[in-house]
Subunit: 196 residues, 2 copies
Amino acid sequence: MARTGRRRGNVDTKRQIVDVARAQFAELGYDGVSLRGIARAAGVDPALVHHYFDGKSGLFADVMQLPVDPALALPIVLDGELDQLGERLLRFFIGLWESPETGPRMRAALRTALSSEESSRRLGDFVAREIMTRLAARLDSDRPQLRATLTGSQLIGLAVGRYLVQVDPLTQASVEELVTATAPTLQRYLTGPLPS
Amino acid sequence: MARTGRRRGNVDTKRQIVDVARAQFAELGYDGVSLRGIARAAGVDPALVHHYFDGKSGLFADVMQLPVDPALALPIVLDGELDQLGERLLRFFIGLWESPETGPRMRAALRTALSSEESSRRLGDFVAREIMTRLAARLDSDRPQLRATLTGSQLIGLAVGRYLVQVDPLTQASVEELVTATAPTLQRYLTGPLPS
């Protein structure tokens, strides 16, 4: 009984933290939220928040029901040759959308995020902080932040066209066709000449 | 009095056609709808639908509150040198989003269209039929439809990143910076070598 009670207590506490986090992200935006503030509002020890979630990025991923926490996944993708980074990013990104396990959650999360101005901006802050900054830090060219967001624009455009709006033949093209057609675009944004 | 009555009658008839069209687009999808069927359901003469709207594309644009009917605007953009088409498309597209008059309507229309699976598919059918087919017909390379949708993916990705999610520095970049950075991508998709 004690074990069951403790287990249920943990589930409730975790859910309570997620609920508080959801409200705070909505009210304060991604950048305005701190794990300490969430712990205070939830009436729990900050160490407990850290125990359940791998930092703010992981907590946001949980709130948004994202299938991956970019703070954990991105370093693995960024590791490796810089002149193949475009293709690695593309294959990882497309993989998230193609997989029967993560694809439906990616579609639902993007739809939800884009449905209102407020949630779009929240997603934007998260993407800037947790994805674009990491990607830019991996580059050693001029204007790394602009390069990162241009890369993001082609990736998100593929997602919207192929998985949300579903325009043929973009939807019917094979993953290999997509990679061959768009990896050079990403690689040029990341490491190619960028007009000043 | 008679004039006022007739004028109001026209406004009511036009609104009635739009209401019927909205319902039919939702029920049957873009491709499943005909102007004749809409006229029948609205209890008006088909000639009246043609009188108020420039074809199905214009009626859909009205229902979606799009600021432009691509069937009218696109031929103007497509006209001209093929090796500058990427930049022309880009400048026209960005112009729609940047303008204080059309920008807010573009944002609202895209948000609404992406908010549900059904409305996304409807937008997809419309884009395929009224935009991609016209763009592909202008190209004289292999796989024109795939080229058109790849072009569309970069355009819509710019719109989502810069105007909906608003990730800096994509949002703060000048139009000229965007054009110099992404026009080569569009031009490669349109007329460049495409891996088979």
